[in-house]
């Protein structure tokens, strides 16, 4: 049970405090309700590029990192398709330094041309390192475009193309900032060796005077139900063929989310899972096989992806996979299988909750979804899932017309 207190400043900033006096450290986590899905389709990669610019100095503090390092702190950030999250860990004695730094960059950035020019280059190198200069680096670029025809999940957080990043202008940066980086679109979590009373005072002092901003009203085009199976073939200079299939699944708040999450574990969560046992170990068709999903806020994709053993044809691999899918649709999982993945979820949550940083970001995330207290009822949601529900979800999900298949061929 994770205890926390919650209050809202007059400018709309939501603040959560989670105290744990067993650590000498404090964590300050600021989540902004903006991700790659909120980007203009002609300026993709912007939310992530922006995350880099957040370290280029704010209106009153020319350098973000130096004072934090002087305080013995460390920080980082990440951008997803749904949100952008910044976090600091530092000795609890120096908590106020984190308030000073985070509040100033919420107030306003320095918006400097040099920083923009450099970070454009840095992000382009990141794009090359992870997506262009890596074998199979373009699989998700292609799969997202295949599976999402209208929803902005059709591009990755790094962006659709290098040109969108190369052409980013300072005025666009400013507009993005004042639209999304405001108290009413943010959640602040302070955790670790901190006292709630002191956090209230510090939050009022540093964040209280920041203008509220306008609440961002998200109106994204939702993906219509898919009515026809989609396939795409690709060729690339890679050593092994790869098969990647996705199916549209529930969003994070959908009623079938927990059952679908457990279904992915039953199929591909670990070495004793069905697909690994059957297709990698028994039939020796795949070098490896993964089954996963992104847990996105809007309806997401359940994915099965694997590289084929040399000499195995794509048709044979896909057929064998289909037999496993048909089996779970027809029979559902056994009680023992379901219990196994529930146990795994229980232990995963216990291990995650060991770190204050992870507790802080979970609180922020559940608050964004609707209520930080859901963090404490999550395990029960999983416990409630039945084998019948998983069978039902499998049948809804694994319909041919709901599927997207990428055949990625190695050119010899």
């Amino acid at each position: 049970m994770i205890q926390f207190e919650r209050f809202t400043l007059q400018n709309g900033l939501r603040v959560l405090v989670h105290t744990d006096v067993s650590t000498p450290m404090a964590v300050v986590n600021v989540l902004y309700d903006v991700g790659a899905r909120d980007e203009n389709p002609k300026q993709t990669g912007f939310a992530h590029l922006f995350e880099h610019l957040m370290f280029g100095g704010s209106v009153n503090i020319p350098d973000y990192d130096e004072p934090l390092q002087m305080a013995g702190g460390e920080n980082n950030a990440y951008t997803t398709n749904d949100l952008t999250n910044y976090y600091i860990q530092l000795p609890a004695d120096n908590l106020e330094t984190a308030f000073w730094l985070e509040s100033d960059r919420m107030l306003s950035l320095a918006f400097n041309e040099k920083s923009l020019a450099t970070q454009r280059k840095v992000v382009c190198e990141e794009f090359k390192e992870n997506y262009l200069n890596k074998p199979y680096g373009d699989v998700w670029h292609t799969m997202r475009q295949l599976a999402y025809q209208v929803h902005p999940y059709q591009w990755m957080t790094i962006g659709k193309e290098l040109a969108h990043i190369e052409q980013a202008q300072l005025q666009q940066v400013k507009d993005f900032f004042f639209k999304h980086y405001t108290p009413c679109n943010a959640i602040l979590v302070v955790a670790g060796n901190v006292h709630a009373g002191k956090v209230v005072a510090l939050a009022e002092k540093w964040f209280g005077g920041i203008p509220s901003g306008t609440k961002y009203n998200r109106q994204l085009p939702q993906e219509p139900p898919q009515t026809k199976a989609r396939q795409k073939e690709m060729n690339a200079a890679v050593p092994l063929d790869l098969l990647c299939k996705t199916w549209h699944m529930a969003g994070r708040l959908g009623e079938d989310y927990h059952a679908t999450d457990l279904l992915t574990d039953i199929l591909g969560g670990n070495n004793s899972s069905r697909l690994y046992q059957q297709l990698v170990k028994e039939q020796k068709l795949f070098v490896h096989l993964d089954c996963y999903h992104f847990g996105s806020s809007d309806p997401s994709l359940l994915t099965i992806e694997g590289k084929l053993v040399e000499g195995i044809s794509m048709e044979k691999a896909e057929q064998a996979l289909q037999i496993e899918i048909d089996k779970i649709c027809k029979e559902g999982p056994s009680e023992q299988e379901l219990q196994k993945v529930k146990n795994k979820t229980e232990s995963l949550i216990a291990f995650e909750d060991m770190s204050v940083m992870s507790r802080a970001s979970s609180l922020a995330y559940y608050e964004l979804l609707g209520d930080a207290a859901w963090m404490n009822t999550e395990l029960q949601q999983y416990a409630n899932v039945t084998t019948a529900q998983i069978k039902k979800v499998s049948n809804q999900l694994f319909r041919a017309e709901n599927s997207n298949t990428l055949y990625y061929y190695a050119t010899k």
Partner: protein, 426 residues
């Protein structure tokens, strides 16, 4: 509210003043003399148990035998198939992992504390009764060779292998690498005999951390206190450094980035220069605010990240600079690395910068000592490197007190471009 001066930083407690303590670690001995190191702490009902065997690469007579034996430990025993072992571990939401390093090889169990008694007999079975089925080995060879083919297309993977061979030589455990031929040459009986000598009869230690249930030490003694635990010495290995210093390799004609590695041999943790070098390295390329990062990423934008570090090796080590940079700026990046070395050799680090690095390192240490798994990790590092706990306090003393002059001297001694191997793989 209007009185708030945002240009003024709040007062700081300098992290250098923290009285950092390495919380003690309980030490037990099993009947066979195997040491058990324990940290009983943490709020969650979780445990980590690590069996550390002296069974790393250094002990093998043929390439990949140690790593393969370690990998296939849990792929079948006399009474259980690989699937049955995985199923039993997975059913309890536990994780049983293995890793092979240069000197040691480990088996690690993560589980909820309430399940540990059910899982330990299985671990014993894996450590005393593994059978290395022929079929498991065949599948392992096939899949590892194919994975290797994928990795060989990555410039960073290729660069990482090559730089180690320049530093240590291909025959040395720190320099040798995998190949399709080495996988093909693996035989089941080699694994069986390596297992028999270095696991079943081999020397090991146990590291345990988390919420420790009553009676755990008794159970450990019952299940692991009767194993032979006989020490083995590895065959001697001499590092053989390459003569040629500079390499440019084209691995992928269509590559758009180059993997850059610049490295020189460096002594191990027992050398007097090791700890001050950690401070100098932090200034040079050891954190986000380092000279290399500020210059090459934050000023020039040549790369997504550039780092320097001293390799975590026990016998002898190396000092490495590593980055991936745009193809057209690789040479410019290398020039900047050398120019930063020159700065450190010629100009004293300002007290302001040094003080920032001291605080950053102390704050990092404070965070690193937080939590049972982190604590046991620090103890394990001392113990496996045969260092006394005083080494920890010496590190803190050096972070606090080393002078700019001392660091400049160290830079003059070690950050000499002529001593470095230099490699770009595109």
């Amino acid at each position: 509210m209007n009185l708030l001066n945002r240009k003024q930083a709040p007062p700081l407690v300098d992290a250098v003043h923290y009285q950092l303590e390495l919380k003690p670690c309980e030490q037990h001995k099993l009947d066979n003399g195997v040491p058990v190191y324990m940290i009983d702490a943490g709020a969650e009902e979780v445990l980590q148990l690590e069996w550390v065997f002296w069974a790393g690469n250094s002990y093998e007579e043929q390439n990949l035998v140690a790593a393969t034996t370690n990998y296939l430990l849990k792929n079948g025993t006399a009474t259980k198939s690989s699937y049955q072992i995985d199923e039993q571990v997975d059913y309890l939401g536990a994780y049983l992992n293995r890793s092979c390093f240069n000197e040691q090889a480990t088996l690690t169990l993560h589980c909820l504390s309430k399940h540990v008694e059910q899982l330990l007999p299985l671990v014993r079975e894996v450590l005393t009764d593994a059978v290395f089925p022929e079929e498991e080995l065949r599948l392992y060879k096939q899949n590892m060779k194919q994975r290797l083919n994928v990795n060989l297309r990555k410039c960073d993977f290729v660069a990482g292998r090559l730089i180690d061979t320049y530093l240590f030589g291909e025959a040395h455990p720190y320099g040798k690498y995998s190949s399709a031929e080495a996988y093909d040459a693996l035989q089941r009986d080699q694994l069986v005999s390596f297992y028999d000598r270095y696991y079943r009869n081999g020397q090991f230690a146990l590291f345990v951390a988390g919420k420790i249930p009553a009676g755990l030490i008794g159970t450990l003694n019952q299940l692991f206190g009767d194993l032979p635990n006989s020490a083995q010495t590895p065959p001697p290995h001499l590092a053989k450094q390459a003569i040629q210093k500079k390499y440019r390799i084209e691995n992928d004609a269509s590559g758009i980035q180059g993997a850059i590695r610049i490295a020189r041999p460096f002594p191990n943790r027992h050398h007097a220069d090791f700890i001050p070098a950690l401070v100098l390295n932090t200034v040079f390329g050891g954190f986000f605010g380092s000279r290399l990062m500020s210059n090459i990423r934050e000023d020039k934008g040549y790369t997504y990240g550039v780092h320097s570090y001293i390799l975590n090796l026990q016998q002898t080590s190396a000092w490495m600079i590593s980055t991936e940079a745009g193809k057209d700026v690789c040479e410019a990046t290398i020039a900047e690395v050398y120019s930063e070395m020159e700065q450190l050799r010629t100009t004293l680090i300002s007290e302001e910068e040094l003080s920032l690095v001291r605080n950053y390192m102390m704050g990092g240490l404070l965070g690193d000592l937080d939590g049972p798994f982190q604590l046991i990790g620090r103890w394990k590092n001392l113990i496996l490197n045969e260092l006394p706990p005083a080494h920890f306090y010496k590190t803190i003393d050096t972070i606090r007190n080393c002078s700019a002059e001392q660091l400049r001297e160290l830079a003059r001694q070690y950050l000499q471009p002529a001593e470095f191997y230099e490699l770009v793989v595109i």
